[in-house]
């Protein structure tokens, strides 16, 4: 297929939409959250309902990706009004169809947030949950059927790829990405353009693009939702990256825990190949690129790039020391570009709208938007996307609808087991890479867990340390033994058996493990501990027993058989 063929298809598809024979369109959220709440049943029942009423020719029903407010699911969206119904189940579908389609008025008490808002919004876009958001990465999530490439094409799909291949040189693409000031969304925030340029500069007969979809942070599901809701967007980003750096082969490494994401991504690859958007001589440009899916097998450390490479090569996912960096010596020893799912999903809007446009969103040092997985003791949890620099207060109270059960905000945990927490005193922090680092936390991949006064911060630190201990690959000593020791010491504090000496030792170990570990897992494993110590040291101190009391307690039994 060449450029003209693509245009023809898009025109045809757009014409189909414009001459829509359907009068109504209903999207049923088939993101993982809603599927878990039974949205597939809802979808089936809705189809039946529409058929029995003989409305098949008037109502188009599509399964969509994640709509956002996951804990209100299953969600159903009526277009073009953007009326969202929450907690839909098979029993109230008939009523909704009757009221919304036949009587043309929504059922107020079933609308999104009807149970918590005084007056729910008929147009969900007016609701503060959506109003405060800016969706770039997630723009088409929840609007199109992720399993139809045509739906994506109608929404400017593969236009960016078309533009890069036909109008831009690899240098242009890299310059545009650099200009956008996009930073890697996997957590570390390394400038994406710079990374691309580095790989581009290494001359080699073979280079690789890897999409890191091994989203292992507990409490994070951004990548999952993007892969499930708009897989083609990621695929397009990968192809553009391939063109820019001179790679012909890409791998998408997706967590085995996400079967739906894997299925949809594989479907997307097949469709793109069939249309000639992957394969040889894409759009008549001489550029060839193909993508293969590799399924993760349950190891958090594989999110680390060198471990991920080892895993793609079919080995134990153990990291190796850097330098050399994957940009020089990566998959099978070849120059390799590794970016996160969200990073790749940000590429096509940048190409279409220009780097300038993107760089003006967000803060001076952190451009663009960030997707967060908002969860915890909050009223509305789910998937949100906000411009960098949005305050935590806005996220918690405007978007998240405040604390659940009227609880008191205590801390927000960002960055999962590699991150830290933000205490109530810093609720007004503008969320970007620098601000979070200054507070001793990190942006991370985007998990945002809200905790109330019932959360015990020492136990939170212990929880994350236990996670890192379980996930340590065991290769380097500081991480292998250090995480175990710290976990034991934290347990000792939780059990009120520790003294000040134990706490001092714990802090010393934390800094030691942070500075000496081989890879980022060990290097960041002490972060939750150090961060809770920084903001909630009194909770640790209150647990300690005085040294003189030591002779009144039993022999420490922190020895495991």
């Amino acid at each position: 297929m060449n450029r003209q063929d693509l245009k023809t298809i898009i025109y045809a598809e757009k014409a189909k939409v414009e001459n829509n024979k359907y009068k109504h369109k209903i999207g049923v959220c088939c993101g993982a959250g809603c599927i878990s709440s039974g949205s597939e049943e809802v979808l089936k029942k809705l189809q039946e309902e529409v058929t029995t009423r003989g409305l098949d020719h008037d109502v188009e029903i599509i399964p969509t990706g994640c709509m956002g407010p996951c804990n209100q699911g299953p969600l159903m969206k009526y277009l073009p009004d953007h009326t969202i119904y929450q907690k839909v189940d098979c029993s109230n579908i008939a009523a909704i169809v009757q009221s919304q389609i036949i009587d043309k008025k929504p059922i107020e008490h079933l609308l999104l947030f009807a149970d918590t808002r005084e007056k729910p919004f008929r147009d969900a876009r007016e609701d503060p949950f959506f109003k405060s958001q800016l969706k770039i990465v997630l723009r088409n999530c929840g609007q199109l059927n992720p399993e139809r490439i045509e739906d994506f094409l109608v929404h400017d799909g593969y236009q960016a790829l078309d533009k890069t291949l036909c109008e831009m040189s690899p240098e242009d693409v890299i310059a545009e990405i650099k200009h956008s000031r996009l930073r890697g969304r996997g957590g570390a925030g390394y400038p994406t353009g710079l990374k691309w340029e580095t790989v581009y500069k290494y001359v080699n007969d073979q280079k690789y693009v890897i999409c890191n979809g091994d989203e292992g942070d507990p409490g994070a599901f951004m990548d999952r939702s993007v892969l499930e809701g708009n897989p083609h967007r990621v695929l397009e980003g990968m192809a553009i990256a391939g063109y820019a750096i001179g790679a012909t082969k890409g791998y998408a490494y997706i967590r085995g825990e996400y079967p739906l994401a894997i299925k949809r991504f594989e479907t997307a690859i097949k469709q793109a190949r069939k249309m000639g958007l992957l394969g040889t001589d894409i759009l008549g440009s001489n550029f060839s690129f193909d993508v293969e899916v590799r399924i993760g097998a349950g190891a958090f450390v594989c999110g680390e790039e060198t471990a991920l490479i080892a895993s793609i090569e079919g080995k134990r996912g153990t990291p190796r020391p850097r330098p050399p960096f994957p940009a020089e010596f990566g998959l099978w020893g070849k120059p390799t570009l590794i970016n996160n799912v969200e990073t790749f999903a940000s590429i096509s809007p940048i190409i279409i709208n220009g780097g300038e446009w993107y760089s003006e969103i967000g803060t001076p040092k952190s451009a663009g938007t960030k997707v967060f997985a908002l969860a915890g003791k909050i009223n509305y949890s789910g998937l949100i996307e906000v411009p960098m620099g949005t305050s935590l207060r806005e996220i918690v109270f405007d978007i998240g609808g405040g604390m659940q059960g009227g609880g008191e905000f205590k801390a927000a945990q960002t960055g999962g087991p590699s991150g830290g927490c933000i205490p109530a005193g810093h609720l007004d922090v503008k969320m970007d890479y620098e601000a979070l680092t200054n507070l001793g936390s990190i942006m991370g991949s985007g998990g945002l867990i809200i905790m109330d006064q019932t959360s015990d911060m020492v136990d939170v630190a212990r929880f994350f340390m236990e996670f890192c201990m379980d996930e340590s690959c065991g290769k380097c000593l500081p991480c292998r033994v250090g995480t175990k020791m710290m976990c034991d010491l934290l347990q000792k504090i939780c059990d009120n058996r520790a003294t000040q000496i134990d706490l001092d030792r714990l802090e010393e170990l934390a800094i030691y493990v942070k500075e000496t570990s081989l890879c980022g897992l060990g290097g960041s494993a002490p972060n939750p501990l150090l961060s809770t110590l920084r903001h909630f040291r009194n909770e640790y101190q209150n647990r300690l027993i005085r040294h003189e009391q030591k002779d009144q307690i039993e022999v420490p039994s922190n020895i495991q058989v």
């Binding site: 993982a32 878990s36 825990e257 153990t318 003791k377």
Partner: protein, 169 residues
Amino acid sequence: MKSGSSLLDAELHKTDPRVKLIAAKLKKENFKPDALIEVLHTAQNVYGHLPLNVLAYISKALSLPPSRVYSTVTFYHFFSLKSKGEHTCLVCTGTACYVKGAQVILNEIESKIGLRPGQVSADNQLGIQVARCIGACGLAPAVVLDDEVQGKVTLGEIINKIIDKMAAK
């Protein structure tokens, strides 16, 4: 420890349809050693776990040393050398579920059913597992019963469901 030499002599039943599935996957991957993890995924899917004789078969087919295969299998949580039980109950212990009391659920399972994470009931009917986040944080706390996600579970309800599963053979 099982005997090593006798293991490798053990031929898999050629007529076993499950072996054919693995053989097909091996062929599809061109017997490339770097396809080890992909092949293990297939084997785990068809057998439910990875018996040693299957590993021996894969090791031979991919020309990989036995210890390389074994070390890879034991590295990843997805792969299991032992049967996980007819029915599985997987409790998510991700951060959101942790904040909403995943530990309480695990304690309740232990006290009412007598199984801890990683254990399988004596009749092999039920296995209890934990996962580090299944990505359904909006539904916390979440439990996966036989591949079916149960969101916002309450204690009594989930225990009853588990007991029903065990009873329905």
